[in-house]
Amino acid sequence: MTNGHAFQPQNPLIVQGDHTVLVEVDNPRYAEARDALARFAELVKSPEHVHTYRLTPLSIWNACAVGENAESIVAALCGLSKYTVPSHVRASVRDFAGRYGALQLRREAPQLVLRARDLPLAEELAHQPTLTSLLRERRAPIEFVVAPPDRGRLKQALIKLGFPTEDLAGYQPGESLDLALRSVTSTGRAFAPRDYQREAADLFHAGGAERGGSGVVVLPCGAGKTIVGTVCMALLRSSTLILTTGITAARQWKAELLDKTNLSEDLIGEYSGDSKEVRPVTISTYQILTHRKNKSSDFTHFALFDQRNWGLIIYDEVHLLPAPVFQVTASLQARRRLGLTATLVREDGLEDEVFALIGPKKYDVPWKEMEKQGWIAQAACTEIRLPMSEARRMAYAVAEPRHKFRIASENPAKLRLVRQLLVWHAADPVLIIGMYVEQIEGFARELGLPLLMGSTSQRQRDEVYARFRRNELKAMVVSKIANFSVDLPEAAVAIQVSGMFGSRQEEAQRLGRILRPKAGENQAHFYSIVSRDTVEQDYALNRQLFLCEQGYEYRIWTLDRPEELLPEEAAPAAAR
């Protein structure tokens, strides 16, 4: 507890000395607190009753980038806190915020100029070994000349030193492109971007000003990040390079663009393993861009970045951006850059690189808010624990530790439960997701369902996805290829029969597949079947914690015998 003695029990926040902020969800001022914190703090976890945010330098800089300042942040914290905000937290906020804007990068053709706020800071920079090669001439006591190619690397280096650079050097306009949004899609449905999508795009674009044009839009899975990208393209009307996580996602982008914009097919190119088209709008994948013959050779496809005068580069799922793409992005600072993601948190901790090279967070909307408004589905998570047969238990007991997880994951008794769930959700499109090929092959064979996995050809995949979208197929079995950027808006139920140990990101992505808004009750179901009293259950606990921290309702059903089925009360209301 802090040493502060003021106590306002009606307020919803507890600001702790470790820079975390707890928010009481049941408090009448919760919504106010959530909206305030969204501006300057990172949401760490959001379980049912108390959410945890964290104040970090990046979160404060992101806030400053959209016009916040230290005093407004401190005032918001003090005004909403139950207890006095610890003085060192207030000091930290002021310190972090004070650093934003202390360095500004401007264009003074033909060169760039880095201007420090004051002489001591300029001196500090001048004596930094990591900046020696990046800062050229010192043309004034507080100004340094910077070569345009070093723009990204300089920002990277400065952020490592704890100084974010306000980049006001502007962008190249890029080749112009006649792109407009349709009011009626090519499939004949009325179309208009949702308010939040338009708002996110406008914030990114900033009316074409230098303060806009680079940044990250954070929206939950299923909230329509592709549409945000499309609206940005329509605002900029220039040639665009779109980088995605896989070919399926790339094709979905293409389909969306064809459906919702006036672009014709000949203006959209696919740059992948199969095809190397470079057109005014080119969609590629991180995989092809980072491909090289061996570890010592160059990334041959990086040339794509220079093959056209791109006016905008879109990084889909920016939290998965591979390190080599960061390198090339450092040299692309003169082009507008848009990052799209559901979470800014990267497993590799390179959030600061995203800030420096792609840009600050421009828009974020709490997913609970979107769920309330019906833009994404409500998800109910259920974990079903079932025991293994005696024989399998014995095999498990004597197996080497590294094999135990697989033995538990491939518990054949899971099939019976999957059948039961398929009956319960006969009316809903279902994805059965697994990790082990033999297991999912067996499921597909037994259930008579199509199977999509890494070895399935893209054509086959597209066909199956298309049938699924057309509702001709009620269920399919997929491997981890469906984890990312597969747009299956109809999927309402996911049954996870085996997972990647305790991977939280995988859990989030799998759940994301079923979050598109649904007709009717707008309810999605996520089932996870695990073998009871095994390491699989232990790993499932990690995933359970993660989903609970994301705020999802989580139920557990424990069965006593392998042949047992779920009780009637476990069934969704529609199936009862």
Partner: protein, 713 residues
């Protein structure tokens, strides 16, 4: 009298001239020439110079200089005094009054009210009424006459036997002067504000007007009237004592209206602080040292306690700094014999809970507070030198109201009457304004009314003018030093920012309005949240809950925030101590805002469900070389020995008794301790220690010299 003992005819005659002067000229006349003979620049008087010269208030001095006229020096001195003491316009009348009296009255005059134990208060309507209603003014004046002793007589040798006859002065010798004075006083009493001195004559009938100067002087002498210059206009005015005048003409008291106050809470933080200190003291964490305030905590202990102390609402936090609260808790604990300063083995002293203190700590919070309040209801212990006893008096500080026997008045019924009405939140300031007027001790039944009041260090007859302020202070002190820290009132802030309060159960009990009450700890309800991610979040500090949750959770914080996490490991540790899932969930539910989330409950049950308690016993394994030997052993050892395999036997015993070994020996069966090269035939493990038994096949192999020793490990 000092300055005022002069012929007022001259002063009153000059007043019309003074009235004609501009304010600037009046100020210049009074302030620019501090010494009477000092001349000032003529220009300062501006257009009023001629008028001043004509009035004779000033005369010309050196060229271009003007000085006060020595002949009008009395007027100037009176004006200067009135300007220095703006008694009708000061904010701090009490402070000015002491100076005023000292400057204007002789010691003998000031002592007059105290002689013969009268302790009369000049500043009361009672005093004026006595004068106005006296049948004979001369008789009224007689005991008040000024007896002035020559200065030379004040030596310790001659004290009581003045060498020179004292000079006695009467100011109301003539009946006309007395009657005129009564007219003046009645007129002033009827006025809601000070009256202009120039109109003094208008207050009396025409025939009495020649007696006005003498009557006015007498009124000043006997504190019936006061005069001063208004600071803004320097206009001379007169009135009765401002406390009397204002009191007479103020609006009727208005009962404070109830206000909306959403954030009311009544933390009994004295009790919470005592619990905190006593808990720390239980673990030896409260070392003491002699400090400015008696026994104080060492800095480290103090810092730890401050960090853990319960935070207060903003409206209370500034008034009750944590350091002071802890000092109070320390003092209360020792005064109530709940803890004592004792020597500790490490050296020095520490606060150690007494048996009574431990019992108190183990009681439920409501009982603890009840016990504490009961201590304040006990009669005060009147023991000099025992400061600690004073901390438990119901009404803190010295009671300013005294009965005829000079004993303090019992204020509890009056306090109960005043505070008992606040069932809805009211602003504190309005409450004090109202109650100071309507429930002061003079409103009590005649038998329990005070006779005297303490005013500063002196005693005065209790009058309505001098009881209201001390009563207001008593109410305020009782509110801040008893009701608030003992959680007897719920306090909060109204929309306008005013501090508001209402009496709660604890307060009613403290005031004797209720025999008992329900105490809800401020953090007791809705304090703890069990999250679906297995974290236990404390929204408010809750020490008892921390203690109860500790055995089955992992601590990850202190005070507020995420303090605990439920994990499988901690569940197993709790299970080892005999906890069950039901007990864990019950404990969580007892303190938590809502029941534990379904997944948490399921997981806890699953963890505990996987626990198995298996009895462990010691036994010996006897590994025989063949079936025949095994049968022989089984036969010799009886039911205590059972076969586990053809040649493997289990002998159920913690030791092999001498008698058993003897029986085996008789049958040629020998047991031996294991050693290298010998065949191990049995053993058991206990705490990492092994004892192995060996088969013996004859005296040459295996049989120890001393069989007993061979089995003792």
């Amino acid at each position: 009298m000092k300055f005022f003992d002069l012929d007022w005819t001259e002063v009153l005659d000059v007043l019309p001239l003074w009235e004609k002067l501009s304010v600037a000229a009046r100020r210049h006349y009074l302030l620019k020439a501090p010494a009477h003979a000092q001349s000032v620049a003529a220009g300062g008087y501006g257009a009023d110079l001629e008028l001043l010269l004509a009035s004779g208030l000033v005369v010309t001095g050196a060229p271009g200089r003007i000085k006060p006229n020595p002949a009008r020096i009395n007027f100037r001195r009176i004006m200067a005094q009135w300007e220095k003491f703006p008694v009708f316009d000061t904010d701090n009348l009490d402070a000015m009054w002491r100076d005023y009296e000292r400057k204007h009255f002789l010691r003998e005059e000031l002592l007059v009210p105290y002689v013969q134990g009268r302790y009369e208060s000049w500043h009361s309507r009672q005093w004026i009424e006595k004068f106005l209603n006296a049948p004979n003014v001369a008789k009224w004046e007689a005991p008040l006459k000024t007896v002035r002793y020559p200065r030379a007589s004040y030596s310790w040798r001659s004290w009581g036997e003045p060498t020179t006859k004292p000079e006695t002065t009467f100011y109301l010798e003539s009946a006309e002067a007395g009657e005129t004075a009564r007219h003046l006083v009645r007129h002033a009493l009827a006025s809601p504000q000070p009256l202009p001195l120039r109109a003094l004559g208008e207050a009396v009938p025409e025939p009495l007007r020649p007696h006005v100067p003498a009557a006015f002087k007498a009124c000043l002498r006997y504190h019936l009237l006061y005069a001063a210059l208004r600071p803004q206009t320097l206009e001379p005015v007169y009135w009765v004592h401002p406390a009397i005048g204002r009191r007479l003409h103020r609006p009727a008291p208005q009962a404070p209206a109830a206000v909306e106050c959403s954030n009311l809470c009544g933390p009994a933080f004295w009790m919470e602080d005592m619990v905190l200190v006593l808990t720390e003291a239980s673990f030896g964490g409260c070392r003491l040292k002699q400090g400015r305030y008696g026994w104080e905590f060492f800095q480290k202990s103090q810092q730890q306690l401050e960090a853990a102390a319960m935070p207060l609402p903003k409206c209370l936090a500034a008034r009750f700094p944590v350091a002071g609260r802890l000092r109070q808790a320390n003092q209360l604990l020792r005064a109530l014999k709940l803890a004592a300063a004792r020597a500790v083995p490490k050296g020095g002293l520490a606060l150690v809970p007494t048996e009574r203190g431990t019992q108190w700590l183990c009681a439920p919070p409501g009982q603890r507070l009840h016990d504490l309040i009961r201590e304040f209801l006990k009669p005060a212990v009147d023991e000099f030198g025992e400061d600690e006893d004073a901390v438990c008096e119901l009404v803190p500080g010295r009671t300013p109201f005294l009965t005829r026997k000079e004993d303090p008045v019992d204020l509890r019924p009056l306090l109960a009457q005043a505070f008992g009405q606040t069932t809805n939140p009211v602003p504190l300031a309005e409450f004090l304004d109202y109650q100071s007027r309507v429930s002061h001790p003079l409103t009590a039944p005649a038998s329990s009314r005070p006779k005297h009041t303490l005013v500063g260090y002196s005693v005065e007859e209790a009058t309505e003018e001098n009881v209201e302020q001390p009563w207001r202070e008593t109410l305020e002190t009782f509110f801040w030093e008893r009701l608030v820290p003992l959680g007897g009132v719920d306090t909060g802030t109204a929309a306008a920012g005013d501090l508001c309060f209402r009496l709660n159960g604890g307060g009613r009990c403290l005031l004797g309005l209720a025999p008992s009450f329900e105490y809800t700890q401020p953090e007791g309800e809705n304090a703890i949240v069990v999250q679906p991610n297995f974290e236990v979040v404390f929204l408010y500090p809750n020490l008892p809950a921390e203690i109860e949750l500790g055995p089955f959770t992992e601590r990850c914080g202190k005070g507020t925030g995420t303090l605990f996490r439920l994990t499988r490991v901690t569940a197993m540790q709790a299970a080892a101590q005999g906890w069950t899932a039901a007990r864990v969930l019950e404990t969580l539910e007892k303190h938590a805002k809502k029941p534990a989330p379904g997944n948490v409950a399921a997981e806890v049950r699953s963890w505990f469900g996987a626990c198995r308690h298996v009895p462990v016993r010691r036994s010996f394994l006897i590994d025989c070389p063949d079936r025949e030997t095994a049968l022989r052993f089984q036969q010799a050892l009886g039911d205590a020995c059972r076969p586990l395999a053809d040649t493997l036997l289990e002998y159920r015993a913690s030791t092999i008794a001498l008698e058993v070994r003897g029986r085996l020996m008789e049958q040629g069966l020998f047991l031996d301790r294991s050693s290298s090269g010998r065949r191990v035939v049995g053993g058991f493990t206990r705490d990492g220690f092994s004892l192995h038994l060996h088969e013996g096949r004859g005296g040459d192999r295996g049989l120890p010299d001393n069989p007993r020793r061979s089995f003792e490990s």
